[in-house]
Symmetry: C2
């Protein structure tokens, strides 16, 4: 797919609302002039923010008014029932109506997922979306799912995650036969519980490039492209990893500021520390996709800054260009033997 | 408890056998002259290693011959059936017979757990041991369990882990009412699956100082003393955290050796980097306890070096001095309303 890419940006959700969203839009446009970004939310506040960023009247940007905002802790069920004019829902409506090709939001994960299912619908054979994100790995990155949408999963669901994750890796990374692994507590066949072993049997019998079980450290070191786990394990792993990284950054800062001599050392080491901090910057991994939907929805961290949010926009644009839902739909249809394929899977949108 | 502390050291298991075990014994004795260490395994190989460390004839050290070694990948069931004279089993026998107060092994986790249950037995009310270890936390450390013994757990088991973990934190850290949290994928009451929510209800109704759900990053940042989860989640979290730490160390090494200038910087920053690396040294956290056994068994990492293994010996000695199994047994008996209490719980051994 070439030509302009239209994205609906939920500009009001997340911890920082339009401040961060518009800042991210400016950064994203600097790097990706092919984008057309529709900022959804309180028009007057968005226009004011656009003005501070000298983006008033910019042809790449438009505003779609929405009168409500989904709060970060609001119960998803209530959001679905009420808040018909929230920035989140209106942004998803734009995708449903073909006015945008993807939606990016930093809002309440549960509400975004519920609304996305309601507004866009699921691909045939999939009940609930799975959250996938790239994780740093010594060989580049690995895609990991589910990162929290499904607290418990059947073996069949884990298998479907594998199919979707592999299709995504093929689409965005161009890997023909992505290596798929199950996250487990040991590498031997006998390890783990029956669900994971059943999933392993299902994967072994499939045409996926299933390489077996990996352990937590394998996410970062093993030769793997797609790591599959249930949403409970995936979410804990993701946040534990983030916690360790934050703890180490904190220790580094403490050590390099402990006394005058250490501060001088930090000054000398500045270029090294800067390049290190760039490599460790979690903002480069912001932007998780909801897979299994009939459309592209990218979730940014709630407390993302403009740089991080801009990365989520980049992820959305990449998935649009690579036709991710269509390719996942086709792969699911082929693997699960579904005759009915979705609008997107047959080339719509 | 004062006076000498006798520990049985499985000197043959783990990736490095007696080389590391004897090196660790030397380090441990330098810091803890109150220890009496019984090295279990191939007597001639242990004696040879003792000689290289100038420990031949040392009054703090003795050797107990055992003719077999449990391999790292050997199925536990086979180890239990055969290998009656393995260094692992003989070391556990010494604890059972009161000749040692704790056992330390770097061997095959599954085999060690199976043998420990068989040889030492469980505390009343507990079916299987849970693995607990201290994790670094901005406030010092938190104890986390289960780290891999139980791939699936009932709410009642999670509750029992909480009771045991709290008793351990009280015993070794002197915290009167340790703060206990459940590891979950969100902090709201509605998060997670029914097992974790049932465990939360059970904990809320108990006399433990239950503070609610924490997420993965909370292990390192929240004000918590005991983190409870099932063994699948705990093991993945532990290894993911280790993986992230290893990845960051690797990035640091790469950045500080990228070119001559960076190498010079590293030389200037040496004192800072050394003190940082000391704080990040995972060897300070080596030594996980099997809780719920009628005795003290400490598992060292299979690939631990002498410094790490020495820490596992330190953990064992601390638990002996603090009477950990007796205090856990008493706490379990009180909480679970058990009238029968174990030998250790009534003050034996």
């Amino acid at each position: 797919m070439t030509g302009p890419v239209s994205l609906a940006i939920d500009a009001m959700s997340g911890d920082h609302g339009q401040t961060v969203a518009v800042g991210a839009v400016r950064l994203a446009l600097q790097q990706h002039p092919e984008l057309r970004l529709i900022l959804v939310g309180d028009a007057s506040r968005i226009e004011a923010e656009l003005a501070t960023h000298k983006l008033t009247g910019d042809a790449h940007v438009s505003v779609q008014h929405a009168s409500e905002v989904v709060e970060m802790t609001e119960p998803p069920a209530r959001v679905l029932r009420n808040k018909k004019d929230s920035s989140m829902r209106v942004a998803l409506n734009l995708v449903r109506d073909g006015r945008a090709q993807a939606c990016v939001s930093a809002g309440n994960t549960g509400a975004l997922m519920g609304l996305a299912r309601l507004v866009l619908g699921m691909l045939p054979g999939i009940d609930r979306p799975a959250i996938i994100s790239a994780m740093p790995n010594v060989r580049g990155h690995a895609h990991m799912l589910d990162l929290g949408a499904n607290a418990t999963c059947t073996a069949e669901q884990l298998f479907q995650f594998a199919v979707m994750g592999a299709a995504l890796a093929t689409a965005v990374d161009g890997i023909k036969r992505p290596r798929v692994a199950l996250l487990n507590i040991g590498q031997e066949d006998t390890k783990g519980h029956h669900t994971i072993r059943d999933a392993a049997a299902r994967l072994s019998a499939s045409d996926l490039n299933y390489i077996g079980f990996i352990e937590g450290d394998g996410i970062f070191f093993d030769p793997v492209d797609v790591v599959v786990c249930d949403g409970f394990v995936g979410n804990v792993a993701l946040k534990t990893g983030e916690g360790v990284a934050r703890l180490i950054r904190r220790f580094m800062r403490e050590e390099f500021t402990r006394n005058l001599w250490h501060r001088l050392t930090a000054a000398t080491a500045y270029p090294v520390l800067k390049s290190l901090s760039k490599r460790l910057d979690s903002r480069n991994y912001n932007g998780a996709s909801f897979l299994g939907l009939n459309g592209i929805v990218i979730k940014s961290h709630g407390d993302a800054d403009a740089r991080a949010f801009a990365n989520a926009i980049r992820v959305a644009a990449l998935e649009v260009k690579k036709n991710v839902p269509r390719r996942i739909g086709a792969r699911l249809a082929a693997t699960l033997g579904l005759s009915a394929v979705s609008r997107l899977a047959t080339g719509g949108a």
